[in-house]
Subunit: 257 residues, 2 copies
């Protein structure tokens, strides 16, 4: 049997520690191709490049792995891998994105470049996983993630519902071992932003966005609960944003039923 072809991308950029870790693990499971941003793309959400061109450059930074760096966003990387780099070749059996330096749980999925790459693959009916480690440091310790990343990847390769992407968040390394996997829903939460005003040397104001995470969710079936309790959270995500339950409410309220 052919080894599965695994496309690896991320949003921290091709030189980040997290993608190197993910590539090393994926090489144990399949044939790997890398198409990743040439610079950090955190917070890019599902951005694509529509008003500019893209560059794609072959990279030799990963030994024995076919790799390309791309000037675009994570979603661009998945698109250009499929429709240009692999255009006439075998298409990926799986797209994995990450391992992200920092959590992409609950509401953060909307802002996540890591997950936009996975969702882009889901749109093409390719199984996809975004892996994130709940540790934002550039030099984060990924060593405790190996077994879980491989286990989840192998489970997905055995088959999963079409048109979804998994948002996998792994607790930061601590004294305790990871307790296991929880299949969850996205927690009800938001970021409460603060804009810190500073003055530039010409005395003109500029603003840095900072903020704190606010969790409104008391359930135990959501990703925030799982991570706080040292489980790996797995949220299946879809690209249909329709609030289906609101359709009859609006039809009735607007006299259109």
């Amino acid at each position: 049997m052919n080894k599965p072809l695994i496309l690896v991308t991320n949003d921290d950029g091709i030189t980040s520690k997290g993608i190197l870790h993910l590539i090393t693990l994926m090489k144990e499971i399949g044939e790997v191709i890398v198409v990743a941003p040439d610079r950090p793309q955190s917070g890019m959400g599902h951005a694509i490049t529509v008003n500019n061109f893209l560059r794609v450059t072959k990279s030799a930074i990963f030994e024995g792995v076919r790799a390309y760096e791309c000037s675009g966003t994570p979603a661009d990387c998945v698109k250009i891998a499929r429709h240009s780099i692999l255009k006439n070749d075998r298409q990926p059996d799986l797209v994995v994105s990450g391992v992200n330096h920092g959590s992409n749980s609950s509401i953060s999925i909307l802002y996540s470049g890591t997950m936009s790459a996975a969702i882009e693959a889901a749109i093409e009916s390719t199984p996809a996983i975004g892996f994130s480690l709940c540790d934002f440091s550039h030099d984060a310790d990924f060593s405790h993630t190996d077994e879980m990343v491989k286990k989840i990847t192998n489970l997905v390769l055995k088959g999963m519902p079409s048109g979804i992407a998994l948002n996998v968040n792994i607790p930061k390394k601590n004294e305790e071992e990871l307790k296991g996997i929880r299949i969850c829903r996205q927690a009800n939460s938001k970021w409460a932003e603060i804009f810190e005003e500073r003055k530039d040397p010409a005395d003109r104001p500029y603003y840095w966005m900072t903020g704190s995470f606010v969790n409104f969710d008391n359930g135990e079936d959501n990703d925030e609960w799982a991570i706080a309790n040292n489980y790996v959270s797995v949220v299946p995500c879809q690209y249909d944003l329709t609030a289906h339950s609101a359709i009859p409410v609006l039809k009735k309220g607007w006299g259109l039923d």
Copy 2:
């Protein structure tokens, strides 16, 4: 009774024809404040600015309207309006985004800066509408949209379910009058990209993304059908991306139930 406070933003930038049109209409309905990107931000999805600072500059381009241009994305504009510009003031009763030069129907909502601003407001439980005209031209004719934009805005101000944003797409002007409003679900569709390779003056390749829209949906209850039949489509959108139906499937398949 106080007039409603309406925050207007967009993704085509503060100087676009579409936002001027929307501001003019909103002034008939409420008190208007504008916080919009200082340059085009199409295709930005739900991007936010995390690795850079933001600039905010007061603008006098709209007569009698308090307006600011911001160096960030549409989602940044909504965040900085709430948490910095209006920090100690009355918060908006409604956020409207657009009128976008071009369709944001079906799958395009994921890539849409217009809708990311509206969804950002929904996260804050503020009623929100993204308006798009299915005409990409810079000099598009918005004249046939006025009654529908005002009607939908007034309906939303009367109340709608919390935590959702409306994705409103208006057919391009043609000989026939608009037939009415359809409350819809997001059509099942995708973009099939083509990457056109060119060579720069130094003979290095670069790529322009183009593509064609592929509609897999034969239903009549979706936004593509509505627009093709000269109705204004209204899709209520949520920010919970969980594929709830996949949770029990995964739990069973992975032996976790």
